[in-house]
């Protein structure tokens, strides 16, 4: 029987797609496999071992950098999501009003400017403030991360709000609910998946950041990515593979949850 004709078929597309998926995952697979190498080599397999994971956990710098990364990511993601939720409520389900376009542009600004430019700007600005105030704690990194996390948190929340009409909230108001009660018992539960998705996106984006952190951090404020960047410029051992594998695992977990939260419809 002749092969069935399909209007969707384009010669070679499937082959290219398969090669694309293969090429996307091969380097990551190699990286993960050598994290379990018994030897110090990144290219000759010398047997299975967990020693590099043990080394990573015993490495004080890695532990400190990881904790710092998590601290920054948690605070930045929470603040960014709260701010983004309010901003999304303020910019959706309304007639266009003066300044609305400006708000969109402003909220999405961190997405449009190359990261290196923002990094330089913050380096200059914060170094001034450090001199003036004498404060050089994690606050600068948290502020910077919060700012660039806002648009990422904003996107899913706004998308969720735009699919929600005002009927239920109006019904609540008709039944003498106060604006706060309407928000607390009607809007918020409906919006929750969007907020959760935004929170997770913001968390991952903060956790992954290299460039802005590299420029803004003071001495001794390495996050895990900037620590890794520093190590990559020196001799590399499979300890880097082990750290990367754990990091990868965390990202994949978050993305998986995100993917399913985001796919669920009302």
């Amino acid at each position: 029987m002749a092969r069935q004709f399909s209007v969707r078929r384009q010669t070679g597309f499937t082959a290219i797609a398969m090669m694309c998926f293969f090429a996307l995952y091969l380097p990551i697979a190699v990286l993960v496999v050598y994290a379990f190498n018994a030897g110090t080599s990144l290219n000759t397999w010398e047997g299975f071992s967990l020693q590099w994971f043990v080394k990573a956990f015993e490495n004080q710098q890695v532990i400190e950098a990881s904790i710092r990364s998590l601290q920054i990511a948690v605070v930045a993601a929470l603040v960014a999501t709260a701010a983004a939720t309010m901003a999304a409520l303020a910019t959706t389900r309304t007639e266009p009003y003066r300044g609305l376009t400006l708000k969109y542009a402003f909220i999405n600004q961190p997405l449009m400017i190359p990261e290196i430019v923002t990094a330089v700007a913050l380096l200059i600005f914060f170094s001034r403030i450090k001199v003036w105030t004498g404060y050089s704690g994690l606050g600068y990194l948290i502020a910077a991360h919060t700012a660039f996390c806002i648009p990422f948190a904003y996107l899913p929340i706004r998308a969720r709000l735009e699919n929600m009409d005002l009927t239920l909230e109006r019904a609540a108001a008709d039944l003498y609910a106060t604006p706060w009660k309407t928000f607390r018992y009607v809007t918020l539960p409906l919006l929750w998946p969007g907020i959760l998705a935004g929170l997770m996106l913001a968390f991952v984006i903060s956790l992954d950041d290299v460039v802005i952190t590299e420029f803004v951090k003071s001495a001794g404020q390495d996050t895990l990515p900037t620590y890794m960047l520093g190590q990559l410029r020196r001799a590399i051992t499979p300890e880097m593979n082990a750290i990367s594998t754990l990091f990868l695992l965390l990202s994949i977990c978050i993305v998986t949850v995100f993917f399913f939260v985001n796919k669920k419809r009302i």
């Binding site: 290219i16 797609a17 380097p27 701010a83 901003a87 009003y97 700007a121 290299v210």
Partner: protein, 306 residues
């Protein structure tokens, strides 16, 4: 004006005021830690570099002059700064090639995902989404391991007898290009998929009924219909590629700089903050031009098919 109309108008005004209050925290944070400092960069680009980094508060154009010109240290004459010009050209060129290559690979991939049956489509999409949210540094590190002299490619090629000795792939423009295509590919596939998902496949049927070849269907029906996705994907790849810092600094080594590395140098070893500031603004201007191009084309494409 009737009383009712006044009440409605007052209500509307209050609504807008509340909306401004609600968006204040987000706007303030971005103003303080993203948008505002950009203005300071503009100011710094017109100041005199300090001896140990930072600036002295004496206005000068030297930062801007140094973007493309260099002053001879002996006779003070100005000449074209070849190093800077070639880094600019290389950055734009590598970013363009990256965009084209990601498009060539990403288009069939997105089309493949969009034409899967509903139940498996989610899985393929998920496989693209994972690298999208995986740390860029880790993905660059993964590429580094593959193309090193002792990496997978060289090892296999030598075992097969195709290479006599390891071929130097790391620290070349080719390495930067490979890395950028690898890390930015998901940024191309996702918007392409978003517009292919909406593709009306009956139009392809109509094309075939009119004796179009598959290539004609691709060129005359599919490509024009998904043009917004092509433009969006290209912008999403081109902008971060142009400002790329991590990928070229790991895969390009010290010699093969891109704009991001050149800017960083001015704040590190080079210690010429005004020049770094001027370079940053130049980069931002190029990006603005690309975005304007996007806005104009996106509107045109939307109008024609919308």
């Amino acid at each position: 004006m009737s009383e009712a109309a006044e009440v409605i108008e007052a209500e509307a005004r209050r609504d807008v005021r509340n909306r401004w209050l609600l968006s204040m925290p987000a706007l303030l944070i971005i103003l303080l830690a993203a948008a505002g400092p950009l203005l300071i960069v503009v100011v710094y680009s017109f100041l005199t570099p300090g001896p140990y980094g930072d600036v002295q508060w004496q206005p000068t154009l030297s930062g801007w002059v140094n973007v493309f010109l260099e002053r001879d240290i002996f006779d003070e004459t100005l000449s074209l700064a070849d190093a800077h010009v070639s880094i600019f050209m290389r950055s734009v060129w590598l970013s363009l090639v990256t965009t084209v290559l990601t498009l060539l690979v990403g288009f069939p991939t997105a089309y493949f995902i969009a034409t899967r049956p509903d139940n498996s489509r989610e899985l393929w999409l998920f496989l693209i989404t994972i690298p999208f949210w995986t740390n860029l540094l880790i993905r660059t590190f993964a590429i580094l391991q593959i193309i090193r002299n002792e990496g997978l490619i060289n090892t296999i090629m030598i075992k097969l007898g195709l290479f006599a000795s390891p071929v130097q792939m790391l620290f070349t423009d080719g390495a930067i290009l490979t890395g950028m295509v690898y890390v930015y590919l998901p940024l191309m596939v996702l918007p392409l998929y978003a517009s292919m998902e909406k593709l009306d496949f009956r139009l392809l049927e109509a094309g075939y009924d009119l004796y179009a070849t598959p290539f004609q269907v691709l060129r005359r029906i599919i490509v024009p219909l998904v043009k917004p996705g092509i433009i969006a994907g290209s912008i999403l790849v081109f902008i971060p590629a142009l400002g790329a810092y991590v990928t070229p600094s790991i895969l390009g080594g010290g010699k093969n700089l891109m704009l991001g590395n050149l800017i960083e140098l001015q704040f590190g070893q080079g210690r010429n903050w005004p020049l770094g500031a001027a370079l940053s603004i130049t980069l931002m201007l190029i990006v603005m031009v690309a975005l304007l191009f996007y806005v104009r084309n996106a509107k045109g494409a939307g109008g024609r098919h919308g």
